[in-house]
């Protein structure tokens, strides 16, 4: 039996001591920034605290931590990409139309949330859903823009809405509860 196998399911505290330094240096190589790496390593363990996992060995724990941490890196990159696009948009607006700094920030946060919510959908479905929900365009208008049928737009929007509803439900209803 290899020494990296855990004798009994380890506590989060044990996992932290066993893997934190490794995770942080892994993140530093990936992000090239020590402060961000420290933040994300911290967030990774917070996530582990919130939804404890059972690991039988160190490699298994590290595989999991790497998946979560990698996801957080991507969240970070995506958030930045959305921010950059939003700032680009603001930069070309005439001054009279520029939203207040507070509104700018609220919109940015909303965009980042929406991006997170929609990213596993196909690009066209996500686009159709945003144009319908945020801009109030009709299915026919969206169909013209995406080059698909109105019917397909309807399917996209139903699917996208259902997907978002499930995410909301997942984040709200703890797993395993079933009230009689």
């Amino acid at each position: 039996m290899s020494t990296s196998e855990y004798a009994s399911p380890p506590s989060v505290e044990f996992l932290y001591h066993d893997n934190h330094n490794w995770l942080q240096s892994w993140l530093r190589r990936r992000l090239g920034c020590a402060a961000e790496a420290a933040d994300l390593a911290h967030d990774t363990f917070v996530r582990l605290l919130r939804s404890p996992q059972r690991f039988d060995s160190q490699p298994e724990a590290r595989a999991y931590l790497r998946v979560v941490a990698n996801g957080l890196c991507i969240d970070l990159w995506r958030h930045r990409e959305v921010e950059r696009a939003w700032l680009d948009t603001l930069a070309v607006l005439p001054e009279a139309q520029t939203p207040s700094p507070e509104d700018q920030h609220i919109v940015l946060q909303a965009l980042q949330e929406i991006d997170t919510m929609l990213r596993s959908l196909s690009p066209k479905a996500a686009r159709a859903f945003v144009l319908s929900t945020a801009c109030g365009m009709t299915h026919q208008e969206i169909a013209g823009e995406l080059g698909v049928s109105s019917r397909t737009v309807g399917t996209y929007i139903t699917q996208a809405m259902l997907h978002c509803m499930r995410l909301e439900a997942d984040s709200q209803v703890p797993h395993g509860t079933s009230e009689p």
């Binding site: 969240d75 696009a85 965009l111 690009p123 144009l131 945020a134 801009c135 299915h139 699917q159 259902l162």
Partner: protein, 334 residues
């Protein structure tokens, strides 16, 4: 925001689907007063539909801040611009982690089940098709690959080996000759080595790989244990990681899809519908009393409604579509 009544379980899948399709209809620009009245009736029909609708409202509320911009369209376009840049940068691993990362999407429990890994990776594979899409492509060495609906593979060409990894669905391959580099296709169940050939590989719902060989021959090596066997032209076989099943005559239908045709030779209606389902999102239900009807003939895969109309002509069945994504097939009533 309507709070979810305490003590209520998450609404059923059906109620969530209904709520989502009501949302789609009400937003479409084509909803009539009668539609709105029907929606109201549905909403009043019980706590479950109300709870499901509360989720629709929650999701909609997330978009509300965008109204703070003079033209919400600008914000929507910013999102689009960001997505296009991200799509260009996305790589296989990158995308996979994106799905596993945001905890709420997919938990570790799902991830660690090997059976789920390939379908997940399929989303980010080098070459993939959406539902209802077919595509053919020519790889760098001249090998031709046809991808069926909802299929995906990764391409890994090296100096000494040409390797494809089938992640989901079905591919038909016509290999180009290259004496230096063998051509292999890997699935979760084993390795297929092409010996100058045209062959079809399909991952089936039951968790196996189906191989049909039309020209040349293909050698199967099982993922577990590593035994191998050669399948000759005109033969087909299904295998899992541990064993292969009896070899039978290759079904021409397994090749016909590459031309957009569903070739039914003695298939049951239920099998035909399952095949059509691969090409279409949404739900197609077949009533048990007609599921066993025998279907013969060739049908277009790209035109579901046309195919359903043809089936309705040929068989004593009735096709109904109460919602765009909901099709039911029942016995025809006289």
């Amino acid at each position: 925001m309507n709070p979810i009544p305490p003590g209520l379980r998450a609404p059923s899948h059906e109620a969530m689907e209904q709520a989502a399709s009501w949302f789609s209809l009400l937003q479409s620009g084509n909803a009539t007063n009668a539609d709105r009245a029907r929606w109201q009736t549905w909403l009043a029909s019980g706590a479950e539909s109300q709870a499901a609708w509360a989720f629709v409202e929650r999701v909609s509320l997330r978009f509300q801040p965008l109204q703070a911009v003079p033209a919400p369209r600008l914000a929507a376009d910013a999102l689009q611009a960001a997505n296009q840049r991200l799509a260009r940068r996305r790589t296989l691993l990158f995308g996979f982690a994106a799905m596993a990362g945001s905890g709420s999407l997919l938990g570790w429990a799902v991830w660690r089940q090997a059976g789920w890994v390939d379908p997940l990776l399929a989303h980010f594979a080098d070459h993939h098709t959406g539902i209802g899409e077919r595509r053919d492509l020519v790889l760098a060495d001249g090998t031709q690959v046809w991808l069926a609906s909802a299929s995906a593979f990764d391409q890994d060409y090296r100096a000494d080996l040409r390797r494809l990894r089938l992640r989901s669905g079905e591919i038909l391959i016509q290999t180009a000759v290259d004496r230096e580099r063998p051509f292999v296709v890997d699935t979760a169940h084993g390795r297929l080595r092409a010996l100058g050939t045209r062959f079809n590989v399909r991952l089936d719902e039951a968790g196996g790989t189906q191989l049909a060989v039309y020209e040349g021959a293909v050698e199967i090596t099982l993922a577990h244990g590593g035994q191998s066997t050669v399948v000759a032209a005109g033969k087909q076989v299904r295998f899992t990681a541990d064993r292969w099943e009896e070899t039978t005559a290759a079904d021409p239908a397994r090749e016909a899809w590459s031309r957009g045709i569903l070739l039914a030779q003695d298939m049951s209606l239920a099998q035909v519908v399952a095949e059509l389902g691969r090409y279409r999102r949404g739900h197609i239900a077949v009533a048990p009393e007609v599921a066993g009807l025998t279907v013969l003939g060739s049908y277009p895969l790209d035109d579901l409604n046309g195919t359903l109309a043809m089936l309705q002509q040929a068989l004593p069945i009735q096709v109904r579509q109460p919602l765009p994504w909901w099709t039911t097939i029942e016995a025809r009533t006289r």
